[in-house]
């Protein structure tokens, strides 16, 4: 029986990709291990190897086709004695071909599965209209851009603008970035300004801080912030404190950036949110964007900032698209929250990937007649408490959503501050929704349980609105 060759997944959570090239033609003999095609996602290309022996009977998906869903049949392999006439008989047990020689780590692309609400589906709910950002002039043309592209554009623009800006980290240059954030930078700026480092976080973080003390403006990429724990002494003791210890003579204009928090199925040591950790430290600024526009405008601001800035990205958001204003020099203020959607019944404060839960819950709650205001913090330190307090004075109810651990969380701090500054305005206790108080488990079902979910947000809103 002819064998269907299926579109393989580059990572556990990849949903679709482009079939860029066929390396075998119809009628070609194929043995196991032969490279038959190339597929690509927005961050990597990969060769597809045959698992079985036979003749390539028919190509079902032409080269150059975009958006091919994982597990779609892309070709049919004929076995000995079979001919094209047998193709109609092709049936399961189809085999997904083995992805080989991936040119990027098999990293999560979209955690849609993991973030789907445990509660009712939200597909039918109308999309949340993102409120206009007062920092973007009305009428500005908007271009749909992924977070990944926005980050790259921000670095490229700042490197064009200032010769003292350079980027260093593991795989940032020749590999084009472990998550393809630095794609194209080596080609444009050369190896002097796009520097591949050995795998030595503690060392290169210190080298970056030293270069910053000497007046350069390094962007230090951590492949993920989990690895920055190796370097945390340099980040805190050297970068954050030097300005104070020198009586203002010398500081470290440096950006530490990279993916933070849980990706998908990478388990305990690779799934941790550091927002609360770094937000504890005077001398640091901590930025954690959700949208591509914020990623771009805030990364540009971070690079120009004379202080050390921790810039927390999220792997799952990298591939998501948002409208980014088409402006020659789009820089957003650090330390200012953005009202993502205005509302009057309850305030949900979140940041980074946490916003995905808030946005989905809002859509559903709207269907129940609850008018939610969503505040995207964007910056964790300095924290824009004024915007939060003003919103609470209007809605009298507050929910904070984040993926980090619950004890000493960002939400805890906000709840404390709001209780001090707006106690009389609260009609219900502040509810903080966080990741569960456990290391991140590997199993898909347990991972889902360990993270916040939309159902929890909805339940919290119902609780504080006494519904």
């Amino acid at each position: 029986m002819p064998i269907e060759i299926l579109m393989p997944a580059l990572s556990p959570t990849m949903e679709e990709g482009n079939l860029s090239k066929w390396l075998k033609n119809e009628g070609d003999k194929v043995v196991a291990g032969d490279v038959i095609a190339e597929i690509e996602t927005d961050k990597a290309t990969m060769e597809v190897e045959a698992v079985d022996e036979g003749t390539l009977g028919k190509i079902l998906i032409a080269a150059g086709t975009e958006g091919v869903k994982v597990n779609t049949p892309i070709a049919v392999l004929l076995q000995d004695g079979e001919s094209a006439g047998d193709i109609g008989k092709a049936a399961a047990p189809a085999k997904v071909e083995a992805p080989a020689k991936a040119e990027a780590p098999a990293a999560a692309e979209d955690k849609a599965e993991a973030t789907k609400p445990a509660a009712a589906p939200v597909a039918a709910a109308p999309k949340t209209e993102i409120a206009a950002d007062p920092d973007i002039p009305a009428g500005t043309e908007m271009v749909s851009t992924t977070v990944r592209e926005a980050l790259r554009d921000a670095m490229a623009e700042e490197m064009r603008r200032d010769g003292d800006v350079f980027v260093m980290g593991e795989e940032v240059a020749e590999y084009q970035g472990a998550y393809k954030i630095t794609q194209g930078l080596l080609q444009e700026f050369g190896p002097r300004r796009v520097v591949d480092t050995p795998i030595t976080e503690h060392g290169f973080a210190g080298v970056g801080v030293g270069a910053a003390m000497a007046g350069l403006k390094p962007i230090v990429e951590f492949m993920t912030f989990n690895f920055a724990m190796q370097a945390i002494d340099q980040i805190i003791n050297s970068a954050a404190k030097t300005l104070y210890m020198s009586g203002g003579q010398m500081g470290a204009p440096i950006v530490f950036r990279g993916p933070n928090g849980a990706a998908a199925r990478v388990a305990a040591q690779h799934s941790q949110c550091y927002a609360a950790w770094y937000s504890h430290i005077p001398g640091l600024k901590v930025v954690m964007p959700y949208t591509a526009a914020d990623a771009k405008g805030l990364l540009k601001a971070a690079i120009r900032d004379p202080n050390p800035v921790i810039f927390l990205e999220n792997e799952i958001l990298y591939g998501q698209s948002f409208d980014v204003p088409k402006l020659d020099d789009f820089v957003l203020p650090i330390g200012k929250a953005r009202i993502h959607k205005t509302g009057k019944d309850v305030t949900i404060v979140s940041f980074g990937i946490g916003m995905t839960y808030a946005v989905k819950a809002e859509a559903e709650l709207r269907g129940m007649g609850i008018d939610v205001e969503i505040i995207d913090l964007r910056t964790i330190r300095p924290l824009d408490l004024d915007t939060i307090v003003a919103s609470v004075k209007k809605t009298n109810r507050l929910i904070v959503v984040e993926e980090g651990y619950p004890q000493s969380s960002v939400g805890d701090h906000i709840a404390n501050q709001v209780s001090q500054r707006a106690f009389d305005f609260l009609d219900a206790p502040v509810i903080t929704i966080a990741g569960k108080d456990v290391p991140m488990p590997y199993a898909a079902n347990l991972e889902k349980l360990a993270l916040p979910n939309v159902g929890e947000v909805i339940e919290a809103v119902k609780a504080v609105t006494y519904r």
Binding site: T200, A211, Q234, G247, M250
Partner: protein, 345 residues
């Protein structure tokens, strides 16, 4: 376990590949000898005064004195050109004086006063001067090694011919980030001189009790960084090694290690009674190898200075130190508003 005679490694003065070996001590002119004498004496007297003020309660916290090691920073400073940077750990008062930071500013920082170099907010271990290219003053053992490598990275980036002098002790030489830095410095040919001040004790632990390889000039071997052992008690030997090392770096050869064999007379910090070594050991070093006495003997022997002339220098140095101490005791504490300044720009 076989206890078979494991031959002690030969005291190689070179890595065998670079062709580098410890140069002969520099021939000093009269002016150089006198300058070295004055600079080392300033550090000695300054540190003695700091110890005194600590005992009187004017200086708090940790205070690590440099007495005994003066030749290391003094000789290296003589090999520098404008723009060369220096960075070290917490035994840093001597380095700051060598880089010509003001004695008043250093002493007032030790007493935590507003006229201190960090306006009273850094203390003994944390002082900086952008103007004098002194990058601290760091309290975390070994952290300055990565930072100093970063200073060299900036030199290379700017192609400015300057060299980073990155100091650390025999204790810090066992920290992991030192080797991460060695690797990058050698890989990228960064102009950094790693100056290991081997004063034989990492706090209370002797080199032989803490280090598998006690020849620190070999510590760069895995990274192809040549190293030289230098008599760190002889300022002329240090100067000659400094000349060789700065030339090596400026020629684009990458990093170099100088192991300065030196000795601290005092405890690790003011609170260390130094019971891990004998009084005789200290006394022997003081009487036979004191860096200042060596210069003094040469000056007298060559008749480049009389006892009286040297006393005059001594008096001038004491006056500078007394003025610094006077200032540091009487200057006001920082304004309370300083608590909230210089956190972010």
């Amino acid at each position: 376990m076989a206890t078979a005679a494991r031959k002690a490694p030969a005291k190689s003065k070179s890595d065998g590949k670079s062709g580098l070996s410890a140069p002969k001590p520099a021939e000093f002119t009269k002016d150089e000898e006198l300058a070295a004498y004055r600079h080392m004496l300033l550090i000695r007297r300054f540190e003695e005064k700091a110890g005194q003020l600590y005992g009187m309660g004017f200086i708090g916290g940790f205070c690590h004195l440099y007495i005994g090691q003066e030749a290391v920073v003094t000789g290296m400073k003589m090999a520098l050109i404008d723009g060369d940077q220096m960075i070290t750990a917490y035994r840093d008062h001597g380095h700051m004086l060598a880089m010509e930071l003001s004695p008043r500013g250093v002493m007032a920082e030790l007493t935590g006063r507003r006229g201190g170099l960090s306006r009273g907010k850094g203390g003994s271990m944390h002082m900086f001067s952008k103007e004098k290219h002194f990058y601290g003053g760091h309290g975390i053992v070994g952290a300055q090694v990565s930072l100093g490598t970063g200073l060299a990275f900036a030199n290379r980036y700017r192609d400015n011919n300057n060299v980073s002098l990155t100091y650390f002790g025999d204790g810090a030489a066992n920290q992991g980030q030192v080797y991460e830095s060695f690797n990058m410095a050698s890989l990228w040919k960064l102009p950094v001189i790693y100056i290991i001040e081997n004063n034989r004790y990492a706090m209370g632990t002797s080199v032989s009790r803490s280090s598998a390889e006690t020849d620190f000039s070999h510590r760069g071997a895995s990274f192809k960084i040549p190293g030289i052992q230098v008599d760190g008690m002889d300022v002329r030997a240090v100067k000659a090694a400094g000349d060789l090392a700065t030339e090596w770096c400026r020629a684009g050869n990458g990093p170099l290690i100088l192991e300065m064999q030196t000795y601290r007379y005092r405890g690790h910090s003011m609170s260390d009674p130094a019971k891990y070594r004998s009084k005789e050991e200290v006394q022997k070093m003081r009487s036979e190898h004191d860096p200042i006495e060596q210069v003094k003997a040469r000056l007298i022997e060559k008749k480049w200075a009389t006892e009286d002339e040297l006393k005059t220098i001594d008096k001038e140095v004491r006056d500078i130190v007394a003025d610094a101490a006077e200032f540091a005791q009487n200057d006001a504490e920082p304004d309370p508003s300083e608590l909230w300044t210089d956190i972010v720009l």
